[in-house]
Structure formats: structure tokens, C-alpha cells
């Protein structure tokens, strides 16, 4: 029941991240696009797959699926770091891009946090069905 309580909290926070992204999206619409959006849709697709996978693992009682979800979080983190570097270059080269670049950075950060919550759900589901705590086991996230 405690694990289920944590699932509820993480799901609520994913909802909050969706709201934050939608608000930034409304702001970004007022200006021309800074760059073609390639990385953020990739991050978004990964996060959506993580939420779907964690929910399936919970419903189907398949904790073995959780390891794959936890690994996806590493990929989302990598895309976020890569995007931060790229957007920093935009800002250094042209101060006119600062507002748009910062808003895109925030959007990427919100997706990265949503991925963290999806990872938390996967870890909780794994614990719920196996009784094993995998939060600090590096083989799940680094291999």
C-alpha cells in the first residue's frame, strides 16, 4: 500500500510536469522557432514509453519489464545534457535567442523530471512484486 501511495504521488507530479511544458509551449508559440525540434520529441517519446511500460508492469505483474524502463531514463538524461550544450551555444552566439533557448531548456528539464518520476514508478512496481529494492543498483541503469 505504501508503494502504491508513492505511485500516486509520482503520477501526480508527472501531471504537473505536463502542465509546465504546456505553459512553456504557449510562451514559445509567440516567437518564431529557434531550431527544428528533434531532441525534445525524442525525449517526449521516451518518457511516454516509460510511463506506459511502468503502468503495464504494474497491471500485468511483470516486474522484469522495469529494468528496461530504468535504462531508458539514462538515455533521456543524455539527450537533456546534449540539448543543454546545444542551446548554450545558441545563447553565446546570439543574445536574441536567450529567451527561446531558456524556455526550451526548461521544457527539456521538465521532460527529464517526468522521466525520473516514471523511473521511480518502475522501481516501486519492481519492489511491490519482488520485495527487492533496485534504486541504487547500477547494473540496471548503466548497462
Amino acid at each position: 500500500m505504501l508503494a502504491a501511495s508513492k505511485l500516486s504521488s509520482d503520477l501526480e507530479r508527472i501531471g504537473d510536469q505536463a502542465v509546465s511544458i504546456a505553459r512553456r509551449s504557449l510562451i514559445l508559440m509567440d516567437e518564431p522557432p529557434l531550431k527544428p525540434l528533434l531532441d525534445i520529441p525524442r525525449m517526449g517519446a521516451d518518457v511516454l514509453a516509460m510511463i506506459r511500460g511502468a503502468t503495464d508492469a504494474f497491471v500485468e505483474i511483470t516486474p522484469e519489464k522495469c529494468a528496461e524502463i530504468i535504462k531508458m531514463d539514462v538515455r533521456v538524461d543524455d539527450i537533456n545534457r546534449q540539448l543543454e550544450r546545444e542551446l548554450t551555444c545558441f545563447m553565446v552566439e546570439s543574445p536574441k535567442t536567450i529567451t527561446r533557448a531558456l524556455n526550451l531548456m526548461l521544457v527539456a528539464r521538465f521532460f527529464e523530471r517526468a522521466a525520473d518520476h516514471a523511473k521511480n514508478i518502475a522501481e516501486q512496481v519492481f519492489y511491490l512484486y519482488t520485495g527487492e529494492d533496485i534504486r541504487h543498483e547500477s547494473e540496471f541503469s548503466k548497462n
Partner: protein, 93 residues
């Protein structure tokens, strides 16, 4: 003196299972509904960004209230459930 207060007979275990079963189904449904809305809203937010759609962004913001409502339902459910006072007298008896 050393006799167990609560002997875990199959009959008593079944009483525990049936006590929680109905509520756990409600919990499972609530969590699934929350997951479904969170997934849909995140997808809407992503699409609003890619398609530059204000309509989708506003829908994602508006629909988040449903998740909050479900979380309140979940909190209210867990407050009513714990501690499970009505269960213990029947088990100890």
C-alpha cells in the same frame, strides 16, 4: 503466556484478504486512471510544442485538475482504511 495472540489460520487470512480486496480494486483503478491522464496530458503537451497548438496546451493544463481530484480520492481512501480497526476484533476473537 507464549501462545501467539494471532494465529494465522487460513480462515483468518481469507478474512484479511476479503477485507482489503474491494478497496485494492478501487485503488488499482484510481492509479490506472491517474496514469492514463498523466500519459495523455504529457502527449498533449508534447504535441502542443511540436504543432504549436495553443488548443492542445490549454487542454493539457485543464485536464490536470482531474489527476489532482483522483489524488484527493486516493488520500481520502487511505485515511479511511488505516488503521483497520473493524478487522482486529474479529481476528483476535
Amino acid at each position: 503466556m507464549n501462545a501467539p495472540i494471532l494465529e494465522a489460520t487460513e480462515e483468518k487470512l481469507e478474512r484479511v484478504r476479503s477485507y482489503f480486496r474491494g478497496d485494492l480494486l478501487v485503488l488499482r483503478e484510481t492509479l490506472l486512471r491517474m496514469a492514463s491522464i498523466a500519459h495523455t496530458n504529457l502527449q498533449l503537451a508534447l504535441e502542443s510544442l511540436v504543432e504549436r497548438s495553443a488548443e492542445k496546451a490549454k487542454k493539457a493544463i485543464q485536464d490536470d485538475m482531474e489527476i489532482d481530484r483522483l489524488e484527493v480520492r486516493w488520500m481520502s481512501w487511505s485515511r479511511d482504511l488505516w488503521p483497520p480497526k473493524p478487522l482486529w476484533p474479529s481476528l483476535v476473537a
